[in-house]
Symmetry: D2
Subunit: 394 residues, 4 copies
């Protein structure tokens, strides 16, 4: 993780978190350990609770304890323990909170309001957590400034290319071993994620059909060289269906009945609502597991019985049937986290409560570090060029 590594190196010189306590609720993994190492190098005292007992790596937890991090995490522990862990972190009176799903902040705002006064600010790593935050804001209940790091420009660039596209396609190849070249891939939703999936699918030889509900996205898909059709038109043509809409029931009973024998169903969206599982069961028999992460549904249609293959039970396929984000992507994501903490340590006192975007200077700094790690040279503006650019708009 070279980008986070160079952040850490600077932190160890500049000590931006000297005498500051940071309370984290994160997946306790090897990558998280590198993030926490950077915070420690910056002078912080760090307290860590596990955000998910299944992802906790006990060896990592021990390693962090050895480094002096108060670590409250054990693989497989139950909800009572989890809550106690969060409380233990809050007991430390952190000045910054670092959340992955908003559990720390929510507990603080509801049950541990006694600990609110010492908090300067926080970060939230996930889109889902950011939605919870916006709910708090709408209710007038958020008490301090929070940076929503998941929609920083660097995160969107890296996550969409990998999380949305490469890892989704990789998970489909891994689970089904199907030949994509010559197949028809139906992509539901042409947001950033759907667009990247469509591009990759075409790049390995598929014909792509896009479905959309928004005219502008549909037009973008067409100008990108894809065909846009309704799902009713796509259903009998597709070999592989990938949902990336953020909405529910994008594939429903009517579509299942119209599909080809052997069609593959995968969801790239965060929640397992995009493929209507009830509709699938009502259209067919109970599923039969035919390969790891592949369930076959026998759909009964008079004269046209067929089998459909549902991947990962309709859950987000790149995480449920793949490996999640690669170290390259985590390196960028956690570098944004680390710099966001540094920025908050300095700026939070001047900010009101609210959800904030990551400042552009942080994205630019992370991109610059990544380019440095890759050995890429940028051009520099001359004085004349800078002056010319500034003269615009006058």
């Amino acid at each position: 993780m070279p980008v986070l590594g160079s952040v850490r190196e600077r932190f160890s010189r500049e000590r931006p978190f000297r005498d500051m306590r940071i309370g984290c609720c994160l997946h306790v993994t090897a990558e998280t350990a590198v993030l926490i190492g950077a915070l420690l190098a910056g002078g912080a005292e760090v307290f860590l609770a596990a955000s998910n007992p299944l992802s906790t790596n006990d060896a990592v937890a021990r390693h962090l304890s050895d480094l002096g991090v108060a670590t409250y995490a054990r693989h497989g522990e139950g909800p009572t323990d989890l809550l106690a862990n969060v409380d233990a972190v809050l007991d430390s009176r952190p000045a910054l909170t670092v959340d992955d799903g908003c559990d720390l902040l929510a507990r603080l705002h509801v049950d541990r309001r006694d600990r609110l006064e010492c908090v300067l600010g926080g970060t939230e790593d996930t889109t889902t957590g950011a939605l919870r935050l916006r709910g708090l804001v709408a209710a007038g209940a958020l008490e301090y400034p929070v940076l929503a790091v998941s929609n920083s420009t660097v995160r969107l660039l890296a996550d969409n290319r990998h999380g949305a596209a490469q890892s989704t396609i990789a998970a489909i190849l891994r689970t089904t071993n199907t030949l994509v070249a010559g197949s028809t891939v139906v992509v539901a939703g042409y947001g950033n994620c759907g667009k990247a999936i469509a591009d990759i699918a075409r790049g390995i030889g598929a014909t792509v059909l896009v479905t959309e509900v928004q005219p502008l996205q549909a037009l973008a898909a067409i100008l990108d060289g894809h065909r846009v059709v309704s799902m009713d038109e796509a259903a009998p043509k597709g070999d592989i269906f990938i949902t990336a809409t953020g909405n529910r029931d994008v594939l429903s009973e009517r579509h299942f009945k119209a599909m080809r024998d052997g069609a593959v169903l995968a969801n790239a969206g965060q929640f397992d609502l995009e493929i209507d599982l009830e509709g699938l069961e009502s259209a067919g028999a109970r599923p039969r597991r035919v390969r790891p992460m592949v369930d076959e549904y026998a759909i009964r249609v008079p004269g046209a019985d067929k089998r459909l293959l549902l991947l990962a039970e309709g859950r987000v396929v790149n995480l449920a049937a793949g490996e999640g984000n690669p170290p390259d992507v985590m390196d960028l994501a956690f570098a944004v986290q680390a710099l966001s903490c540094e920025w908050l340590a300095r700026q939070a006192p001047e900010l009101g409560a609210g959800v904030y975007d990551v400042p552009g200077e942080i994205d630019t700094a992370v991109a610059r570090l990544k380019l440095g790690a890759l050995g890429v040279s940028l051009d520099r503006l001359t004085a004349e060029q800078s002056a010319y650019l500034e003269s615009w708009g006058r």
Copy 2:
């Protein structure tokens, strides 16, 4: 122009401009005539001055006069006539102004302030005009609301794919007849325009090198599969150089001296500053025209003399050496214009002076009409899906 055609049809039923005068300063071309036809169908009384005497088509001007449009335009007329034409339009006391380069509005704000009071609002078709407007805003001088239609979403989609990419590449093929497959194309600047050019160049078999000054754009180029280098690294490697930065002197004397014999230089940016022509002349002999729109510069470098081929004298190559936007793109652009006028006719009284983006509903409406013309079906949200989407963020 099916999209504008269906706008016109609705206008003729709904008559949104009944009893309204619209003053236009536009290129007097066949496409403009279709736009004006739509305004007339909507009940407007239209007055038209030519924005550029060289683009004026006298047959079109006569045709519009026959339709009852007060048309002040003659091919090749001089600056005095042009100004008189603009004044004649302003004398008509238009309620809306439709500008292509801001000449009408500028005259109104400087010399014809007597006509300001009757104006509700206006539109501006070009990016350059929008810059002049923002200058007026900065000076506190703009007196009414103006929609900057050039950066509407539909315009950006259509113009970048065609204007920036296809037409730039087409102009290079047309002028040089060079084999792109196997060549190295250097794209300076990875904004929307540069990105589209890079994609097309790769799509026809080139290796692409991108130069950038901004780390985030550079990272985007890399994740899109291009190599990013400094122009000093690119200069000795490129076969075709395309500038798309909006800045000056992107290619300068130092680069010319390092280039290969036979390298092609083209500018896709709006102004002829991106390639440093003085540096080109100082590095070499006076140019020799070797084909239409192609000038050969003999660059003297001890032991490595070379000839460089400058296209279109460094002016924007797709317009100067090509045909500009195709009817498909004009159809979308002028549909945005027509709907912007309709929106202003209704909304302008409630807006303060200022430059406004085109409302998203207009872009959506134009996209929807285009999809209808293409026979493309969208999916529709069910009630449950709409409710689900709305439940987010609570």
Copy 3:
């Protein structure tokens, strides 16, 4: 397997193998069972020995025995058993031999020449087996006609797209979880396999460098838009190296020492000679397994120590770290096998001993069945068009 299914259906009507014995030495898998089902449907009496004890599926073997196929195969059996199995098949006096690696035919020509007289002809499924056959021909020792099905046009089309490209890339994604977008992929060898890998790698966002020893292939790579460099130039630039040359030591000690920290080494060629494993060990410490199928080699270079990641111990990565060919590809491959057997049953008596290409009519027939299964319509030549084509060359 719809293509083989429709071959089987026709066989059951036409019975091309009535009263004929077919001796097979094949992987005893589910796909093979479908092939044998087609031969049975065609009236053949089938005898089957396992070509590899590790791939034998005992359930499939039992199933085939139940269908009346004399099946000599047990998972994990030793070399003595294997030989006995082959002999048992030969004892049946087959008229056709169906080989996967040439073991049946070799045994027949060396030790069981007593059984040669009843054999009409045979097929060989692998490229390696075809090489052994050509050795026999060169020695004047081959006694009957054999169709080399592995280089039929259909096989090349399907295998290269999947076996060489998609499955190689899928295996790399699966084992390393690396981000391909933005990376530099070095492809050694630009034959059919290397070309397909290069195209896919670019299709998911990589920059590709190709190395070659043949000028024509190098020129083809360049015209396809890739850069061609020597491996010495590529070594310090690549993130992922994929060998597809059919030659040995394509990556050697000199290259390992020049590579970047973290570079990934994968071999797409049939044998584990393309990456010089001895050179790898001599350049570094003994490997450490860091993930399944991934060994990390610590390379000692003064001032530039680095870790390289070798996939699948240098063996063919798509098979060793992936799942091999998907059913779609096996369907085409075994349909070619079945039609080759039918053709031999009819034509072999008129052929001399030798290795023959699969007749074009078989490839065409399989392609036509596949298109039928996909519901694809071809145009048909009119009488005038056929006459026009025939008039050429007169």
Copy 4:
């Protein structure tokens, strides 16, 4: 023309044509002058007749005369002159003939058999000429060996990428200024030419439909990610139709009536038979020229009248409405010519009469020179690697 330049340089040292007469019948253009310069440098005495009076550049003819080439060519001359020119060349008693369309050789075999005895061999530059030659061979009438240079590997590589693909698309862009992104391009025929066109069209944002009569080509198109349909299915869907089949009436009256308003028709094949012009006229009114090289046909279909746009009167669009091959491609093509002449000067005495493919060593040599001109490095086989490759097949 760096490749031909380095051939010339070697010729001037080695003088392979010392005391040899070469009779040429070629387009008298600047590129031809470079080829002839190479032959002269090699010691030949050259005689040149124009193969087409319209392509003759009189300045080039004078220049060649000044160099000592007996040049019989005048722009615009009539058929009698042309024949006299050919006879004048034959009167020189050439040892080698260099043909572009087979006129020299045909005259020699029919009317000037008196000059046959001194001819060692010849080359033919075009595919059409090669077809005439094969007709002579079939009739048992060809009297000396001829190399058909048009289907050399280098020619196929360079011509298909440029001639078939880039220049066809460039000619369509130039004549119609249509937006390809988002359009549906129908490619009839998926040979080398059609495949390259389909790839380029997709590369600039089109959806591609392929029509075919051959199952194997259809399957290849599908595996490359294109959709294959019948022309009846494609006709109502396409925006741009490009024929590349080598057959007649690929687009006929039935298709014209089913097409969309505004559809563009272009032929990439050599002869103007692929689009049925009679069917076009019978379906519609007489054409109206709406732009240079674009004729609009008004097709009358009850309730669905439409206008179709025929490019270049159905003639091969990249030549008729474009610029033909670029210097890069001619450089490769004429380098093959020059080396073919050299090879014949040495080998012809040992060859029987017949049509021969260009020896692989010539293609390899030209590719190697081109790579040298590009500064591309190949790897070299080590002794161990060569030995390993040779050990195969034993």
